[in-house]
């Protein structure tokens, strides 16, 4: 399991109800179900992956988060997880509002566009950055709304969203983001992981 999922699973307490949006092949769900006795559900747009999840005994619904989230009742999950997908939605703000409505707490991870390698790539090469977390060309990337860790923190502040926890990942190393180190982390982190409500 990738480091990001380790971080996310540590945030999630045992025996809680979790909705994994864009759950992929269900790796995180499986871990949460088997090791933390979480009651997990998933939403995934790709048929093949949904079938894979169902065959593993995971309850996953085929569907697109931008259309499907409205059906879930208010605060029906203890946690809603959205891993590195927020930037791919047409309307990230709307999706985020839905996540906050459905989940008592929401875990969002974002690839950090403020990472130094990204900045240098654009600065020196003058072309759209391609990194480990952003592997696609500008013309085939699913990412429509890239943001930086700082952007996301500013957004939460502006919208009165409480950040309960903020972590970042660089070279598989986890550290905490604080008000003091925000500028620094915004340069040196590849990924930001936030627990919000």
């Amino acid at each position: 399991m990738k480091k990001e999922f380790e971080v996310i699973s540590k945030i999630i307490k045992n025996n809680k109800k979790v909705l994994d949006i864009g759950c992929g092949d269900g790796t995180l769900m499986e871990f949460l179900k088997n090791h933390q006795q979480n009651d997990v559900r998933g939403l995934e747009p790709q048929k093949k992956l949904v079938q894979k999840c169902i065959s593993k005994g995971l309850s996953v619904i085929e569907g697109d988060a931008e259309k499907e989230l409205v059906q879930f009742p208010k605060k029906s999950f203890d946690y809603v997880v959205l891993s590195q997908t927020l930037q791919a939605f047409f309307s990230p703000e709307e999706v985020l509002n839905q996540l906050l409505r459905i989940g008592k707490q929401t875990i969002v991870s974002i690839p950090n566009f403020g990472y130094w390698k990204v900045r240098l790539h654009l600065l020196f090469k003058g072309t759209m950055p391609i990194t480990k977390n952003l592997p696609n060309e500008w013309y085939n990337t699913p990412n429509l709304h890239m943001c930086t860790i700082k952007d996301f923190v500013d957004f939460c502040n502006k919208k009165n969203i409480t950040i309960d926890k903020s972590m970042c990942l660089t070279n598989e190393k986890i550290s905490e983001i604080t008000n003091k180190n925000l500028g620094y982390k915004n340069i040196f982190s590849e990924l930001g992981i936030f627990l919000i409500e």
Binding site: K47, C53, I54, K56, G57, V60, I61, E62, G63, F72
Partner: protein
């Protein structure tokens, strides 16, 4: 001569019908229409072996024209069971592993209480004096069978089309009687389009002058009903690919109303073979039951209330080219289940075989059913282990 042959076939069929498994329910059951029935037969068949713990039983519900013989050769019609693709040894619903139960619905014509049976009051065949039945009545009668077999909790209830409606009704009425539920290509409330199509079939039957005559069957009407319905089970693309404008045993058009096109010949064949195995009045009753099905209305317009107590794990499956029970209608079931926090998975299978996909060899579909069942079964085993 044809008359004699027909009579012989009829007698022969009836003697065969006597040999099929039947549970005579001696309790009285009040039907949704208000009438009470008593001492009625529920014809059924089982496949595989019920294990000692009785935890490997699957109840499969049949669709409009199905019966209890879901696999192997149907002893009455001598044709393959309607779900031979899915049920059998090492198939998706593996009879080496599971005990599969399938009953003929009430109103049907394969031995269960239906319009073909003799009315105890008049000593004549019921015909249209048979009470109007509902999907809920069908499910209630099958519950007697489960009790009779001594099964406390089913591993799964499964069915497509009208079978799927029974799955939904079962899950709603008996929230803790099945570990899992697989409603396939169905709807929680029959749409106007589907009521219209059923009405077309019924009118075809009732327009046949033989329908009201004693000792005769409205074969023409029933065949037309079947032909019309059969089109709705396929997709435009599927039809085009299979038949296109291909001609039937001829090189050019005959400028007549013969079956010039293969599709015409195919439909005529479907209609003609159907009347040998199906009772026209059963067709009226069962299509009516489907039309009356509205689970949402049973719960005052809130479908999620239908499932609020359910403890079953659901796997809802639809097919991309099914326009009779389209994905959007299946999805409404998923939405209702989500709204009440039920455990639900959903997948739309890509297939151009239309509504009939659930009866055909669609590998992705069969794989999903197979793996969902085995993961559910393993989970039960694990829980029992603890």
């Amino acid at each position: 001569m044809p008359g004699l042959a027909g009579l012989f076939f009829c007698l022969n069929m009836n003697s065969e019908l006597k040999n099929i498994k039947k549970l005579i329910v001696n309790q009285s059951l009040e039907l949704d229409c208000g009438k009470t029935i008593k001492n009625f037969p529920v014809a059924y068949e089982t496949y595989g072996t019920l294990n000692k713990k009785k935890d490997n039983a699957i109840l499969a519900f049949h669709a409009l024209t199905g019966d209890q013989f879901c696999t192997n050769i149907n002893p009455i019609t001598k044709r393959e069971g309607w779900w031979t693709t899915a049920v059998g040894p090492e198939k998706a619903i593996d009879t080496n592993k599971y005990f599969v139960i399938c009953a003929n619905v009430i109103g049907g014509c394969m031995g269960s209480y239906g319009p073909k049976e003799i009315s105890p009051e008049t000593n004549k065949i019921f015909g249209t004096t048979f009470p109007v039945i509902t999907i809920r009545d069908m499910v209630r009668t099958q519950k007697y069978l489960i009790d009779h077999l001594g099964i406390k909790k089913l591993l799964a209830v499964v069915g497509g089309s009208m079978g799927g409606m029974q799955v939904l009704q079962f899950a709603s009425m008996y929230p803790d009687l099945a570990h899992s539920a697989i409603p396939i290509a169905c709807s929680a409330s029959h749409s106007a389009q589907n009521i219209a199509l059923n009405e077309l079939g019924r009118q075809a039957i009732m327009a046949d002058p033989n329908w009201k005559k004693e000792n005769s069957t409205p074969d023409k009407g029933l065949a037309v009903a079947r032909m019309a319905a059969h089109i709705t089970y396929l997709s435009k693309k599927g039809l085009q690919e299979k038949f296109g404008r291909k001609l039937q045993d001829r090189k050019s058009l005959k400028f007549s109303f013969d079956a010039d096109f293969q599709i015409e010949s195919y439909l005529r064949y479907q209609g003609a073979t159907f009347v040998d195995r199906f009772d026209a009045n059963s067709y009226l009753y069962i299509t009516r039951a489907m039309d009356y099905f509205d689970l949402e209305k049973q719960f005052k317009g809130n479908l999620s209330l239908a499932f609020q107590n359910t403890r079953s794990r659901f796997c809802v499956i639809s097919f991309s080219s099914d326009w009779l029970y389209p994905t959007i209608e299946n999805k409404e079931i998923v939405i209702a289940l989500n709204a009440c926090g039920a455990n639900v998975g959903f997948v739309e299978i890509n297939s151009d075989k239309g509504h009939d996909s659930f009866l055909l060899d669609v590998p992705e579909f069969l794989k999903t059913v197979s793996e969902f069942l085995s993961s559910t079964y393993n989970e039960i085993k694990n829980e029992e282990g603890i």
